[in-house]
């Protein structure tokens, strides 16, 4: 399994990668991107099986990234990992094609519970 982690904070990417290891995804191959624009390139080049993306990022936000992805016909499972998780954002995320939204900060258990529903 190949997982793309997208966040403009290097520290937060590290935390997500650690949570993945603690959630039973230690064998997965992981790749990283710093924003939505870079993530689109990584998707094209690396064809991940799962995408975990922050929402607020420079260049291309997470929701813009997701919309461009779906507009191009790519249906890779996509989840947000973000500090903002209002009901309106959740609605917007699901409408755009996201499978889930994990709010920061998260516990490894919460992370695993969500990922177990999509893996």
């Amino acid at each position: 399994m190949k997982i793309l982690v997208v966040d403009d904070s290097k520290a937060m990417r590290m935390i997500v990668l650690r949570a993945l290891r603690q959630s039973g995804f230690g064998d997965a191959e992981t790749i990283e991107a710093e924003d939505g624009a870079q993530a689109l390139e990584k998707v094209r080049d690396e064809q991940p099986d799962l995408i975990l993306s922050d929402w607020n990022m420079p260049n291309l936000t997470g929701i813009e990234f997701l919309k461009e992805l779906r507009a191009s016909g790519n249906e890779t499972t996509f989840g947000f990992v973000t500090s903002e998780s209002t009901p309106a954002m959740r609605e917007q995320a699901i409408a755009a094609g996201a499978a889930f939204l994990i709010a920061k900060p998260f516990t490894p258990d919460a992370f695993e519970a969500v990922l177990s529903t999509v893996s």
Binding site: S9, K10, A11, M12, M14, I15, R18, N56, S83, E84, S85, T86, P87, A103, K104, P105, F106, T107, P108
Partner: protein, 158 residues
């Protein structure tokens, strides 16, 4: 009519940092910080672009939380505290801490706040000085992070 910006209690602060840092954290209320000491200040704006709340941290808390976030060795945080200045890596990590902390300042019935800037030793614009001098509400916490030490942070609401 929106409710006032919420200020977290110490249990919420403890649980937040425990989840974020993945290690033991203790938090307790304390008297306000001395704003003459070196500080790091995060500004939260509402949807109208108005300053609504501040997170004010001493150098110690910015250093230890910034280090713990990315599991940077404690010695790096200790050096920052000794110098009274945090390096770029710790500062960037602390920005992420303050950014995620906004989740404690938002609720469905309250103004939507987002982090719009983090400053070291801010000289202060008028609105920042006003809030720091006379916040409508504030809470200050001593926070201890397992393996890293202690520092102080305050939440001030305009």
């Amino acid at each position: 009519m929106l409710d006032p910006v919420p200020i977290p209690i110490q249990e919420a602060v403890r649980d937040f940092f425990t989840d974020l840092l993945g290690r033991g954290v203790a938090a307790s209320k304390r008297s306000p910080l001395d704003y003459e000491d070196p500080l790091v200040v995060g500004r939260y704006l509402d949807d109208d672009g108005e300053l609504a709340a501040l997170l004010v941290s001493d150098i110690a808390f910015a250093a230890i939380s910034g280090a713990a976030l990315a599991m940077i060795p404690k010695v790096v945080a200790d050096e920052a505290i000794r110098l009274g200045e945090i390096n770029e890596t710790l500062f960037d990590n602390f920005r992420e801490v303050v950014n995620v902390f906004s989740s404690l300042l938002n609720a469905p019935s309250t103004p939507h706040l987002v982090l719009k800037g983090l400053e070291r030793h801010p000289e202060g614009t008028e609105d920042l000085r006003d809030v720091m001098a006379s916040p409508s509400r504030q809470r200050t916490f001593d926070v201890t992070i397992e393996g890293y030490g202690s520092g102080c942070l305050a939440v001030l609401v305009r």
